[in-house]
């Protein structure tokens, strides 16, 4: 069936099978490969995108369910100089090593900071508890999210 999904402000209209997963639509139809496929079983959160602003695991949503709706992927994160404050903070605080989980982590962080601009460590840990990172031990991710919140509050 033909669907139109808005990804990062741009409309993508394609004919897809109902069983096409949203993550595959994003990667193969919209050709945006920043959204990663990790576990493919709703566990790891590497495929996290914002669906109308809410973080969801895009391996567990059908593309047809997103017909007419808005998706934000990591490619949609932009700041004044092209780099979003959350991206700058992940770089500054060493919030990543291999980077596989990073797009999902950052999108969850953006959604959290929208609701709670000054989260505590516990708030951040709670928010990212559906996203796995095998490199960092999470410490620097938590630091990065809080630093981004502080940065965004001053600008």
């Amino acid at each position: 069936m033909e669907i139109t999904v808005t990804v990062n402000g741009q409309d993508y209209t394609h004919d897809v099978e109902p069983r096409t997963l949203l993550v595959d639509f994003i990667r193969t139809k919209a050709e945006l490969t920043g959204t990663h496929i990790g576990c493919d079983t709703t566990s790891c959160g590497a495929c996290t995108v914002l669906l109308d602003g809410t973080p969801v695991k895009s391996c567990t949503v059908l593309a047809v369910q997103a017909d007419g709706r808005s998706i934000t992927t990591v490619e949609g994160l932009k700041g004044a100089d092209g780099v979003h404050p959350i991206q700058a903070a992940f770089k500054e605080e060493h919030g990543l090593q291999c980077g596989f989980c990073t797009p999902g982590m950052m999108l969850v962080a953006v959604a959290l900071l929208e609701q709670n601009p000054a989260p505590t460590d516990d708030d951040v840990r709670w928010a990212i508890s559906g996203n796995l990172c095998r490199c960092t031990g999470y410490m620097n991710i938590v630091k990065a999210v809080r630093a981004a919140g502080a940065q965004m509050a001053t600008t």
Partner: protein, 286 residues
């Protein structure tokens, strides 16, 4: 991983969803949050011929208190329950423990209830609080007590032409409290052991109604009537709750698995039942 091919219908009304479910029967599944159904389809544990997506049906996202009940519509997400001021007792206690934050954003309480996974949390909460499931079919609506709705693991009491439209959880008029105690290895894992408790106190301070139900240590979510009988008519006390915990532990049927030994899980049931009842009673007395 992709599911097997299926026909997809996005229903616009409850009537349309029921008609689509009725015409497809057993081979048709309702898609609400999809957080259990889609993984099962991807792993080919389920291969429905048709999905009826109810996400675009208007009016199924009702979360309100009316006529002494908390009404939870079929599109109310776990996250909606978790952040609602209307949730209370064991419902409020369990909501933040459902899976992980991202799954809670899409998964629905009613979907979890209909799924009848014995490791699912909500059915124990509903058994403890004495909730009803509202089902709609071609010939109208019927209300099914949760104890009748949960038939067996992954088996509910719906007819092939019915869908769940809402769950109604009674809101006690007097002093009451509830708690959900869950042990999980990590966020998003199924419960190793979980216990739901609900307590209502009469004017004389004795327990007038009690609910105890178990998750993951029985073949289906199970109400422990014997433990409830220990409680009703007595004043809340540590000794009473310890006795109820002992009864619940004996009623559990845990199995050895990667999450732990049966003996250890039975001990967790004993302790968690006591803790859940104590927390429920504290809430009821405050």
């Amino acid at each position: 991983m992709f599911p097997s091919s299926f026909d997809y219908v996005a229903a616009r009304s409850v009537e349309e969803a029921v008609a689509e479910k009725a015409s497809g029967g057993d081979d048709t599944r309702v898609l609400a949050g999809g957080q259990s159904l889609l993984p099962m389809m991807k792993m080919r544990l389920a291969a429905p011929a048709k999905l009826v997506d109810i996400n675009r049906v208007v009016g199924l996202d009702t979360l309100e208190r009316t006529n002494g009940h908390l009404r939870v519509g079929a599109l109310v997400r776990h996250a909606d329950v978790a952040r609602s001021d209307l949730a209370f007792g064991a419902v409020e206690s369990a909501a933040p423990w459902i899976s992980d934050p991202l799954v809670r954003n899409l998964g629905t309480l009613c979907g979890s209830v209909a799924h009848c996974d014995p490791e699912g949390d909500w059915n124990s909460v509903l058994l403890a609080t004495g909730a009803d499931v509202v089902a709609r079919g071609p010939s109208g609506e019927r209300t099914i007590p949760i104890a009748d709705f949960v038939v067996d693991f992954f088996t509910n009491a719906l007819r092939p032409d019915e869908i769940v439209t809402e769950v109604r959880i009674p809101v006690p008029a007097g002093r009451s409290g509830g708690s959900y105690q869950k042990l999980e290895r990590k966020v998003g894992d199924y419960a190793t052991v979980a216990v739901a408790a609900h307590v209502e106190l009469g004017p004389d301070g004795t327990i007038s109604r009690a609910g105890v139900a178990l998750t993951a240590v029985v073949p289906r979510n199970t109400k422990v009537v014997a433990a409830e009988q220990v409680l009703v008519g007595n004043r809340p006390s540590d000794e009473l709750f310890a006795e109820a915990g002992e009864v619940a532990a004996q009623a559990s049927e845990p199995r050895d698995d990667v999450r732990g030994s049966a003996e250890w899980k039975r001990n967790v049931v004993r302790v968690f039942t006591r803790r859940a009842l104590a927390a429920a009673a504290r809430q009821a007395s405050s």
